[in-house]
Symmetry: C2
Subunit: 331 residues, 2 copies
């Protein structure tokens, strides 16, 4: 199970099996979207399969998630999301009304995000051979050359500021609450949202945006650990600056989760040139999806490859990728 | 289950739920690949999820199938397949050696077909929540304007010849044999293959190629029925001209299947201008994947919307789309 956590074992699986055998530079880059050059221009291409359990939860459902997730993977690469495919694997006996509700919300989210779902496929398997519904979405977007560095992060430098677009862990706790039918179920609302509109407001000076990534499986900590390892740079963040809702804090205490590792489905982590940070923060906060944005730390020359956090109680904690699985089937 | 058959009920599901809600002209066209115009040129985009049971069979496995299927969906649209994504949904406990074997054959097939797998995703679900392994592949290809009609078939005209690139039903019987562990298992070999190389040899005069489609789920009969209905044209074929291997014929008799409805994973159905038919046939037969190609019938002005077959015993049979499910999880 831990091979699917988005953490350390997922990375090993990806490195040892997929990157090894499919050997090409696109995959080696391990960005959220691959980018390719056509004779005529630059495109971004991404895919994700969604197996979230349950398929309906506060703030969304598997279909909305599938659209938002792929839109976001393109958007954080600096691309303008254009076209989506979707592949449905349906368990025999899934009520058609449920399928239709999910498809409706996918259509609504596609309209809201300004993308078109232009090709698809449906497979049906016998009862017990999948769990209600799995959805794959792949997406294609247009990427202008001056934004190509954003998905890779190869321009990050010491002094750059780390920004999150809002509170951490909302999606994770919404899924936990829906799954366990917890009393705070209706208040624990997933942040599932398409971020391309928000991100578009930040890109007037693309060179200032050094890196973006949506903090999904594995959460904020995993995004930062990947970044620090890949670019052999240090990262230092402050726990007290990281926005976490009271409800999420409380649930984490009760269930022993860490909000920094919980999945988000509508939050972007940015690395921004120091001189642009307050401007980017202002723009984020001016948008409904970025109202709680905060600068949480910076890129350092110290401790290359490592992410350190000043804890609320005055200590320092080393963050690592998840070694196991915290909440399976979160997306 | 029958909603996944590729036949009549699949079409109803697609029309009533997906096309209805995702309302756009790309989907309405119901081609294998959607085509879209970028500022700079024409692209094709397609997706398929693979749930074949069992995941290993004579002539291939779920991974090879996933690469060939998406390459073929692009190729039959007249596009040059370039880039693939892949999304894995893995059941907890799948031996890593099996996964690696499958990934290896995907990598080999991608090299053979001249495409790159450039982006991917892996999800793991608990034991019993999927069946070993499901794979989604999406694909992007380059489509030149003079080939755009090929996926749609909007230039077909009475007198055009219907050609199949080889024997029908091989994949379907290979899966049946593998699933039931039949005595002829090793001889019943799937035709699973990437057809873009074969198809590329036919496209020097693209206007002569009116339509192509790979005859997968639902088989030859479903491809022809769709075409006749969509374009309100008649189609007449001759049973005795349709290549079917003796082994497949025998298995169909024993198990009550019809080779015209069995899935193929390496066969293309073409509609070709009458004056070009013998040239196209020659080119097909010159390629190892088209050695058994045959002209099997023609487009007619009579009986618009219907496909009629002159049977081997001298009668006439009306072909319709599959109403139910013949062999589930064939691909």
């Amino acid at each position: 199970m831990s091979h699917g956590s988005g953490g350390r074992l997922s990375h090993e699986l990806i490195e040892k099996i997929f990157v090894h055998h499919f050997a090409n530079d696109f995959l080696r880059a391990q960005t959220d979207s691959a980018t390719f050059e056509t004779a005529e221009g630059q495109m971004a291409f991404t895919t994700d399969s969604y197996v979230v359990d349950p398929i309906f939860f506060s703030g969304g459902n598997i279909g909305k998630l599938a659209v938002c997730g792929t839109v976001n993977d393109l958007a954080v690469s600096g691309a303008e999301p254009l076209y989506l495919s979707c592949g449905f694997i349906v368990e025999e006996g899934l009520p058609l009304a449920d399928l239709e509700k999910i498809v409706e919300s996918m259509a609504a989210e596609a309209v809201a995000a300004g993308v078109s779902i232009i090709t698809g496929d449906t497979k049906v398997v016998n009862r017990g051979k999948c769990d209600k519904l799995f959805i794959n979405t792949a997406g294609v977007g247009r990427l202008s050359a001056d934004r190509r560095h954003i998905g890779y992060g190869n321009t990050i430098a010491p002094g750059d500021q780390i920004i999150v677009s809002g509170s951490m862990g909302d999606h994770g706790i919404a899924i936990l609450a829906a799954r366990e039918d917890l009393s705070f179920r209706s208040q624990a609302i997933s942040d599932c949202a398409s971020l391309n509109g928000l991100i578009a407001t930040l890109l007037d000076r693309p060179a200032d945006i050094r890196f973006m990534r949506d903090a999904t499986r594995g959460g904020l900590a995993t995004v930062l650990c990947e970044l620090a390892e890949r670019h052999e740079t240090g990262i230092r963040i402050s726990e007290e600056k990281i926005p976490v809702k009271e409800l999420v804090k409380g649930a984490c205490e009760v269930f022993g989760f860490d909000p920094l590792y919980l999945a988000n489905e509508g939050k972007v982590v940015l690395v921004v040139a120091a001189e642009a940070a307050s401007d980017v923060l202002q723009k984020l906060r001016a948008h409904p999806l970025g109202a709680d944005a905060a600068i949480i730390g910076s890129v350092t020359t110290n401790h290359p490859g490592k992410v350190l956090m000043n804890t609320a109680v005055g200590g320092t904690r080393l963050l690592d990728m998840l070694a196991g699985e915290m909440l399976p089937r979160i997306c």
